[in-house]
Symmetry: C2
Subunit: 284 residues, 2 copies
């Protein structure tokens, strides 16, 4: 598979956001409500296709994980797109349920691949550490944490993870897949009183990696582990039972970074060699 | 009634926030889930009272309206408070459902009255005017508006309402109650792309006043009414059917302002003369 659409087909890029609370994650599963199935079924109607198309997604989010900047691509017959293009965004807005929004649908060069062309993924993890202070309006996207967090300690501990490492200690291992990733950013800030938010950026993430890193840093932030503990866990390169995988509802896929159009194919080729396989790279 | 607690009673102030989505408003109603009943029932258990106490609230919010800074008071036997005080906040946190949080419970001078001592109330109204851009995670607190809003026009129109006016044009009239209020602030801003938020501050609000003012300003902002229209509506002092009362879920009671403790009684006495009656002053 070269990843290019068949002749007389056009490749489309979708930009999506969703509240993951009522979805069993991104990926289609028989009998369960998933984001993929919901969006594919709406596309099938709007583009008047004979069967639901298959989306390729940048970040396969787990059940309960949210997205503000998810990206997916699909190939459709050029004729279908020519007929539907003008009204597609508006009709998708009407067809999709309130917990999924499509921000844009556009034709892109054939070399664009939502998953393999991506340069980086940015996630956030939102925690409230004020026992009485959680904002009930944002409880669906915020972990309530019963102990006060020292963000200085957490950022000090996080520094050892920046750069290219084998993150096996923070991942669910998959046969034949590398757990080496390049972590570009891992930083905590307080955007409002009583709320701590992690910003986590990497070229890609292994399964559970963001939630495991967050769990480890919460243990450092509440004082139950020393800041130096994290470097040892990372270096051991085996899953550490002391690292808690935090719940999904604090996690949100915020943004995917892509190169300029001329570099889509080169990036995709490089990524496919490093991280082959059909599974997608969900960081959630 | 003087508003002071009986001897050997202590007056308590509660600071509350709630997601109004699943409540039939603040005020108790038989057979319906309300914020007042939920909080009073929890207080009854935590303070080991023989019957649910009655709260006096600063802003009686309507069904679906949210609060981040609601304030209420109640009087309880001094003995009950002495026994419960140390653990009251934590126990309330465990008893209350996730859509109501109590930020604080403290004893206050007898002259404090959550409703009548208040100097001002601040509400926000949140609107998304990007047809595809609404954040699904904040849809419960955001009105989706299908037309682009010109905030400059809206702020220009709003200026005529600042100060003391008879707001009868924007209120549901109640027999024997004045509709004169002092509007201290009414300003729109864009805290993020595609989102417009009104900040509305007044000494107090008549019923539906914030939602009617917001509805009128949306009509100015989308171009369907000229900026000068609002001054005419206000001056007419009769309910104008062209003013739409916007839905409750965009509205949030953000903060109540009180004077220094020495002025609680003086402020309450003044307010009772101007706005008597048992009904509370819900601005929602």
């Amino acid at each position: 598979m070269t990843g290019a659409p068949a002749q007389s087909a056009v490749r489309l890029r979708l930009d999506l956001s969703y509240d993951g609370s009522a979805f069993h994650g991104w990926a289609r599963q028989p009998g369960l409500r998933t984001v993929q199935q919901t969006v594919e079924d709406a596309l099938c109607r709007v583009l008047a296709l004979s069967a639901a198309p298959r989306l390729t997604v940048a970040g396969r989010t787990d059940a309960g994980v949210h997205a503000r900047g998810q990206v997916a691509h699909l190939d459709v017959p050029a004729g279908s797109w020519a007929q539907a293009a003008g009204m597609a965004a508006r009709r998708m807005g009407r067809l999709l349920p309130a917990d999924v929004r499509m921000h844009a649908i556009d034709s892109v060069p054939d070399a664009f691949d939502a998953r393999f062309s991506a340069l980086w993924r940015r996630y956030s993890y939102r925690v409230c550490d004020d026992p009485a202070g959680a904002d009930p309006l944002r409880r669906h996207e915020t972990l309530s944490y019963s102990r006060l967090l020292d963000l200085g300690r957490m950022n000090e501990a996080a520094a050892c993870c920046i750069g290219e490492h084998d993150f096996a200690a923070f991942c669910r291992r998959r046969e034949g897949a590398t757990t080496v990733r390049e972590l570009l950013r891992l930083a905590w800030a307080r955007p409002e009183r009583g709320v701590a938010v992690a910003t986590v950026v990497a070229d890609a993430f292994c399964h559970n990696m963001v939630r495991s890193l967050t769990g480890a840093l919460l243990a450092v932030g509440d004082g139950s582990k020393p800041a130096s503990w994290l470097a040892g866990v990372l270096a051991a390169r085996v899953r550490d039972p002391a690292v808690r995988v935090v719940p999904p509802h604090g996690l949100c896929l915020e943004e995917i970074g892509y190169p300029a159009a001329a570099d889509f194919a080169a990036r995709a080729g490089l990524t496919r060699r490093v991280r082959p396989g059909p599974g997608g790279c969900g960081g959630s």
